[in-house]
């Protein structure tokens, strides 16, 4: 990385670019600017050390700024070495925030950054994939005991927190932002759905109409991608191991089947399981020539690129962010090195979606600070979740009805009769 002098013109340009990016987010964040600012500015976050460890680009920076504006001592790090934006990092540093992340990192530098974030002794963590939480638990056990709470962003991280709790290894309360309806119903489905397709198309200049597109995993993320692709004219194949979800995909009009059949004729394959090695050797054996593989799940390992590299006769960079593995007479193209394609190969989620998600995170952190809770995994209280949707609706000038008393089910009458 090039070291920039802090007063150099190029450094200033970088800072200003970062500020422009964050200001653009500001424009489209009515919930963070309204409800969230109002709630967190009650003085309870003053001096509270909060680590924000989410993909470090403009939207995350805006959340961090709101917490800092509320008086929190914010420590910022990235949740993936490939998704940190350099201009945003410099803009945050410029306003005096502690940022332990650099752009263009690798797994080693990222590990060091996370440990540095841990050593700054955060009391609370807004985490993504439980990446910092797990590392504090593993490498900084004495700090782990002092941790007061974690608010987690993703499906992957939520599963990790439950596993820690089940193993008796979670000594503090954790909130799963992901389980809030204002998060998974919107972020996972609409946000990832739209921007994953956007990134794949931008990186490849390919079409959707008339192609066979396979989606591995039919959770909220997979469903969003599949729905949009289908509406844009693709024939969509779904691979899902959960029988209820697989049946749901069938009822949604998708073609449901085994992975090797689903990918056999696919032009584009998107992984969205949130797990590891969603596609590996059995699929690589049958993928057609010139297929494009992209990942929409948390791990960089959903497309098992290590195995693909072992199987390949040679590897080349065909185009920016397109790595091509040559297997005999077939070329298999992997986008963004298998990292989350909408973030590593695009601009991440739409701003308005992250306005909701980060409202959940911001209010979640505020709730953790202000509410005594048992150690374990908790869900954001419904009234807070609802208040976010209400704030968003109100910002759009939409004021839905409240239920009228006569619209209630008559079970109370039945109960009276049964008593």
């Amino acid at each position: 990385m090039v070291e920039l002098g802090h007063n150099s013109t190029s450094h200033l340009t970088l800072v200003n670019e970062g500020i422009d990016r964050i200001n653009w987010v500001d424009r489209y964040s009515p919930v963070l600017n309204g409800l969230v600012r109002k709630s967190v500015n009650d003085g309870t976050l003053k001096g509270v050390r909060i680590a924000v460890v989410v993909h470090l680009e403009a939207k995350t920076a805006f959340l961090a700024s709101i917490l800092a504006d509320a008086g929190a001592e914010v420590i910022v790090a990235g949740s993936n070495p490939l998704t940190t934006n350099g201009s945003v990092v410099e803009a945050l540093r410029n306003r005096g925030m502690t940022v332990v992340a650099e752009p263009d990192g690798n797994m080693q530098s990222w590990e060091q950054e996370l440990l540095a974030a841990a050593d700054l002794q955060p009391e609370y963590v807004i985490d993504d994939g439980a990446e910092l939480t797990m590392r504090i638990g593993m490498y900084r056990p004495e700090l782990f005991k002092k941790l007061k709470g974690v608010s987690e962003e993703t499906t992957t991280g939520t599963a990790r927190l439950y596993a820690m709790k089940d193993a008796g290894l979670l000594p503090f309360p954790a909130l799963t932002a992901n389980d809030a309806r204002c998060k998974h119903l919107f972020d996972n489905r609409y946000g990832t759905g739209q921007t994953t397709l956007q990134a794949v198309l931008r990186l490849t200049n390919k079409r959707v109409a008339g192609i066979q597109l396979a989606v591995i995993g039919y959770g909220y993320v997979g469903r969003g991608i599949a729905e949009y692709a289908k509406k844009m004219g693709a024939q969509v194949h779904i691979v899902e191991t959960d029988p209820v979800r697989a049946l749901e995909a069938h009822f949604d009009g998708m073609i449901v089947g085994k992975s090797i059949d689903a990918v056999h004729d696919a032009s584009i394959v998107v992984t969205a399981t949130g797990g590891m090695r969603a596609i590996g050797k059995p699929e690589f054996d049958v993928l057609p020539h010139d297929v494009v593989l992209a990942n929409a799940g948390h791990h960089d390992l959903e497309v098992d690129v290590a195995t693909l590299a072992e199987m390949a006769d040679s590897i080349s960079e065909k185009r920016s962010q397109i790595t091509t593995y040559h297997l005999g007479d077939r070329d298999i193209n992997v986008l963004s090195g298998g990292a989350l394609v909408n973030i590593a190969g695009g601009s991440g989620h739409p701003i308005e979606i992250m306005d909701l998600t980060f409202a959940v995170q911001g209010l979640g952190a505020h709730h953790l600070v202000n509410t005594p809770m048992e150690p374990g995994v908790h869900i954001l209280p419904k009234h807070i979740d609802d208040s976010i949707a209400e704030a968003k609706l109100h910002s759009l000038g939409i004021f839905p009805d409240n239920p009228r008393p006569e619209q209630e089910d008559d079970f109370r009458e039945w109960l009276k009769g049964m008593a």
Binding site: D20, L201, R207, M232, R319, D331, S347, P350
Partner: protein, 404 residues
């Protein structure tokens, strides 16, 4: 498409990037490749001078390179905002003349000068776009027109202009109308532009489209494709169309047909797709809400009241490809890609696989002009129809082969 060129080493690395994009496009253009093999072998292209006036991107470059491989002397021109500098640089290194001002600051005068330069290469055949080169020739170089054996044109605007020139007796050469081909109408206009326009707007703004009020002005094939893609991604779409039958079609497609005036006040994103000058007026803009995002998907700035914007609002660049116009009232309008056609100026244009079929038709048209130049237009068109059928059959065959 906005890198600036300076020194040679930078030129080389930019050219390498352009070459990567060209190779990627080539790998997804089998129809063009098949036709190119045949025409190259035939020798028909040897020593012919061909001027290509398509946007300079990887797909147009693939056509240019195929023609050059067949022995033609190929020159390319496009306005600066429709030129991918990396691709232009790569073409230059491969011996193709690219008359395009690739400086970010290029103004119309530079584009005009570069267009003149293309005409001075005295093309036998012009692959025109919006009749830009032919119109210029008719106005300033009528003697070049007498030298041209044939013109191919795929845009509706361009066909209109060429027909007018023919009617006025200013143009007596063969015009191959690719605009009316099914591959252009149904696939490029109907699908490719819609996909790439909506995606380019989203790429540039990082906004969400689900739940947004989108206004599509013009419900021709392009407008219909944009409306369909926006709706597929969850937008609520209003359509403004002066042809009542097309407006009714918009209703039947599930959109809301309105007049521009009715729809303006609720529009959060506006796409113009009429191909007509001054589609939007100052009055329409005045009725639009604060923060409206405005994109042209037709013939660019001519559809928009640019003078009004420039003269009455303060202009600031807020991020790449987004300019904020603030009016005295405090209201803001966000113009994408400086008002140029958004999918080309702020993206890579239509998807490669769709453009492949159009480029194959371009090549077939060039061949027809060279081999049967004196044939009537109607005969050429029926020949094109059978070529379209062959392209579609070949596509269907290859997808069937895969699924065996």
């Amino acid at each position: 498409m906005t890198q600036q060129l300076s020194d040679n080493s930078l030129d080389n690395s930019i050219a390498a990037e352009g070459q990567q994009r060209i190779r990627w496009a080539q790998s997804l253009m089998p129809q063009l490749a098949d036709r190119a093999d045949a025409i190259i072998a035939s020798g028909t292209l040897k020593n012919r001078s061909i001027g290509i006036c398509l946007p300079i991107d990887a797909k147009g470059a693939t056509l240019a390179l195929a023609l050059a491989e067949g022995g033609a002397d190929v020159s390319c021109w496009a306005p600066a905002h429709y030129t991918d500098c990396a691709v232009a640089q790569s073409l230059r290194q491969q011996g193709i003349s690219v008359f395009s001002s690739t400086e970010e600051t290029a103004e119309f005068d530079n584009d005009r000068d570069s267009a003149h330069a293309l005409l001075s290469s005295k093309p036998d055949i012009v692959v025109d776009h919006e009749a830009q080169i032919t119109s210029l020739a008719a106005a300033s170089y009528p003697e070049v027109l007498t030298h041209i054996k044939g013109i191919t044109e795929a845009s509706k605007t361009g066909i209109g202009k060429l027909r007018k020139l023919q009617k006025n007796g200013e143009l007596n050469t063969v015009v191959v109308n690719l605009n009316q081909t099914r591959l252009n109408r149904l696939f490029n206009d109907g699908i490719g532009v819609g996909q790439s326009v909506v995606m380019a707007m989203l790429d540039v703004t990082n906004l969400q489209i689900a739940g947004r009020n989108v206004l599509v002005v013009g419900y021709g094939r392009v407008g219909r494709g944009i409306a369909a893609h926006a709706a597929a991604l969850g937008a609520r779409v209003d359509v403004a169309e002066i042809d009542p039958v097309k407006a009714m079609l918009a209703q039947y497609d599930g959109h809301v047909a309105k007049s521009i005036s009715e729809a303006s006040s609720g529009a959060e994103v506006v796409f113009t797709a009429t191909g007509c000058a001054e589609t939007l007026t100052a009055q329409h803009i005045e009725a639009m809400p604060d923060g409206v995002v405005l994109c042209s998907a037709g013939c660019g700035i001519t559809e928009l009241p640019m003078d009004y914007l420039e003269q009455t609002a303060e202009k600031t660049s807020v991020r790449a490809h987004v300019t904020n116009f603030q009016f005295l009232s405090g209201k803001n309008l966000l113009l994408v890609a400086d008002g140029h056609c958004v999918n080309v100026a702020a993206g890579e244009g239509s998807p490669i696989e769709i453009v492949d079929k159009l480029m194959a038709l371009q090549l077939a048209s060039i061949e027809l002009i060279l081999t049967e130049g004196s044939t009537k237009n109607s005969d050429l068109e029926s020949k094109l129809e059978s070529i379209e059928n062959a392209i579609a059959l070949s596509h269907l065959d290859s997808s069937r082969l895969i699924s065996k």
